[in-house]
């Protein structure tokens, strides 16, 4: 994706905002672009963003460190580094927990030999726990990068991991949309 496309992607055309309002309003969309492109938000990119929006660096930093979507290297938690190619985010909130998400998380950790919050040494997978994904009707659910995978079973997860690993080794990318992944949006898929 080229720079221009990237910039216009999440941006708004509200012509009633003054310059300062507009620049602040653009912080989160721009940070999202940086996060999506690099897998994390470095101090360097925050400095560049501050400059391009003519805002103090502090404004950018206080926003970047507030939202869980951004991995900043000013954060002290385990996600210091960029996440792996596939970021597996397992919901462990109430409905998914009732449907056995904790056991699934455990098997997933065993399968990849890492703990939640860590990245595999080959940089392919990161596991983390997330909060309710609004997929409770199709629990247990997880989000892999941007894609929802719902109605999880242990078997399904194991198969998908093998498949994705294979694909990433041969093609460099994993196909996230496909027959095995629910593409329905909300509701049950009866």
């Amino acid at each position: 994706m080229n720079e221009n496309e990237n910039k216009s992607k999440n941006e708004n055309k509200n012509k009633y905002l003054n310059m300062n309002e507009l620049h602040e309003h653009l912080i989160i969309p721009r940070l999202r672009n940086i996060q999506e492109e690099h897998g994390y938000v470095s101090m360097k990119s925050m400095r560049e963003l501050a400059e391009s929006l003519s805002l103090p660096l502090m404004k950018i930093r206080e926003v970047a460190t507030f939202y869980t979507f951004f991995n900043t290297d000013t954060n002290t938690d385990t996600n210091k580094k960029a996440v792996g190619k596939l970021h597996i985010q397992m919901c462990t909130n109430i409905a998914c927990w009732l449907a056995g998400a904790h056991q699934l998380l455990h098997s997933l950790e065993n399968k990849l030999s890492i703990k939640s919050g860590e990245t595999t040494t080959d940089n392919l997978f990161t596991i983390s726990e997330v909060e309710c994904l609004a997929a409770c009707g199709t629990a247990p659910a997880m989000q892999v990068n941007e894609t929802y995978v719902e109605n999880l079973t242990e078997e399904k997860i194991m198969k998908l991991i093998d498949l994705w690993r294979e694909e990433m080794k041969t093609n460099g990318v994993a196909t996230l949309d496909g027959c095995c992944i629910s593409t329905t949006t909300g509701g049950t898929s009866s």
Partner: protein
């Protein structure tokens, strides 16, 4: 799929449709005051959580000064007349997934609802604040908005081809993606986030109607609330109201999850009883016995199966409030007899601990300590006096903070102990979780 029973579908009949009949009717036949009057008559209440009557929310938007509004189109907007309509699509309440459903299946209904609302309150510009995780819903909505612009349903002088009056109305709609923070569902935190700030709730007053997005007068409504408006115009306010109770009009989308036989999103009239609603969704999963229900998303105080039976509880806002809980977001989570209530509450409290924005000390510290204490009890490491400590913490949190988040934390904490105290005491007495112990025993046998 949506399973409708009891009555004809009101909202869900728009699945997959691009209708826009109601907005045409509104623009041709009604003035803004008529629309507000209709919404008042429909007894529509906010579907986001607080259940505030929508018609009243719209009518408290400050009046646009006469000279400014005089027969002009709203194209000639001035700083005084600029106001915003914001749609809250940050759905994150545990156990709630109906907004995601609406956006995925009926994006045009939401756009139409926003057009009608904007016309009623005189907003020239609108925002949809969509939860950061919703990637495919974002794309669906983005496409729908582009389509609407192409067909002149959004933008300058909308629907000009269809209007037989010389009225003109303009409305621009922007999408804005969140970045992972439950608290941004709280309306003033959402506004801060929209402006590009940390998602911290604001002290109220001033309310958003006076001082909202970018300091302008703003009306914030939930996705479902807005999507319901075209349906009300379509079937008529009185008829819509009749599906509900005296003070909670119409139908509502319920998200059914947990130990329910057929989970999913359902549309039910608000006059239905909770017991019947559960039966319509197939009852408790695998024929097990019901233990408890969380009736309005994770923040709603828990109800026991006996309460639901003996009180013959309805699902409307007032019945649930009278029973000491709340209708909240309409997320109904069933817990069957095999569920450990201590662990269930502990799972919820861990979530709240993570999501407190940290502004108010009562909430920041309280949610942390509650999560720790519940975890200790579940593990069998706690002492009996800690139950009183929990109550002490709860009373220091409730109604003491800038926003209602702290009360959302107190909801599951306080109610679970109040209603299942013996289960908590057993954990402490036998120094472990009786449910896990049972499983281990049956495993050995």
């Amino acid at each position: 799929m949506i399973k409708m029973s009891v009555i004809e579908p009101i909202l869900t009949k728009y699945i997959g449709k691009k209708d826009y009949l109601s907005i045409k009717k509104v623009l041709n036949e009604m003035n803004p005051a008529d629309v507000i009057q209709d919404v008042k008559k429909s007894n529509l209440r906010g579907r986001g959580g607080a259940g505030f009557p929508t018609g009243i929310k719209w009518s408290v938007m400050p009046v646009i000064p006469k000279e400014e509004s005089k027969e002009k189109s709203n194209k000639e907007i001035t700083p005084i007349t600029l106001r915003y309509l914001v749609c809250n699509a940050d759905e994150g309440e545990p156990g709630t997934f109906k907004d995601r459903f609406i956006i995925g299946k009926m994006p045009h209904l939401l756009i139409e609802g926003m057009l009608i609302a904007a016309y009623a309150i005189g907003a020239r510009v609108g925002y949809i604040y969509i939860r950061g995780e919703f990637a495919s819903e974002y794309r669906i909505l983005k496409n729908a908005i582009e389509e609407a612009y192409q067909e002149n349903y959004l933008g300058e002088n909308v629907f000009s081809k269809f209007l037989n009056t010389n009225k003109n109305f303009s409305f621009d709609l922007h999408l804005y993606r969140g970045a992972g923070a439950y608290i941004c569902g709280e309306e003033t935190a959402l506004l801060n986030s929209l402006e590009g700030k940390r998602g911290e709730p604001r002290i109220k007053p001033p309310y958003p109607a006076k001082f909202g997005a970018f300091g302008k007068s703003t009306c914030i409504n939930n996705v479902e609330t807005l999507a319901t408006v075209p349906a009300i115009i379509n079937i008529g306010a009185e008829k819509y109201a009749k599906y509900g109770t005296a003070k909670s009009g119409g139908t509502r989308l319920f998200s059914l999850s947990g130990h329910i036989q057929n989970p999913g999103v359902y549309e039910f009239p608000l006059s239905i009883k909770l017991k019947d609603l559960i039966n319509h969704c197939g009852g408790v999963k695998d024929g097990k016995k019901l233990k408890a229900v969380i009736p309005g998303g994770g923040s709603a105080p828990i109800l026991t199966a006996e309460e639901i039976d003996t009180l013959d509880l309805g699902v409307d806002y007032d019945s649930l409030a009278a029973a000491g809980t709340m209708a909240g977001s309409g997320g109904i989570i069933l817990l069957d007899e095999t569920t450990c209530i201590v662990e269930a509450a502990s799972v919820l409290l861990k979530f709240y601990e993570h999501e407190s924005c940290g502004q108010c000390s009562q909430c920041r510290e309280g949610s942390h300590w509650l999560a720790r204490l519940f975890h200790r009890i579940e593990k069998g490491e706690a002492e009996m006096k800690e139950l009183d400590l929990i109550e002490h913490i709860c009373s220091n949190m409730s109604m003491q903070t800038i926003c209602a988040f702290a009360d959302a934390v107190v909801g599951p904490a306080r109610s679970s102990i109040k209603k299942f105290r013996s289960e908590f005491e057993e954990h402490i007495r036998i120094k472990c979780c009786p449910f896990k112990k049972q499983k281990e025993v049956s495993h050995v046998l």
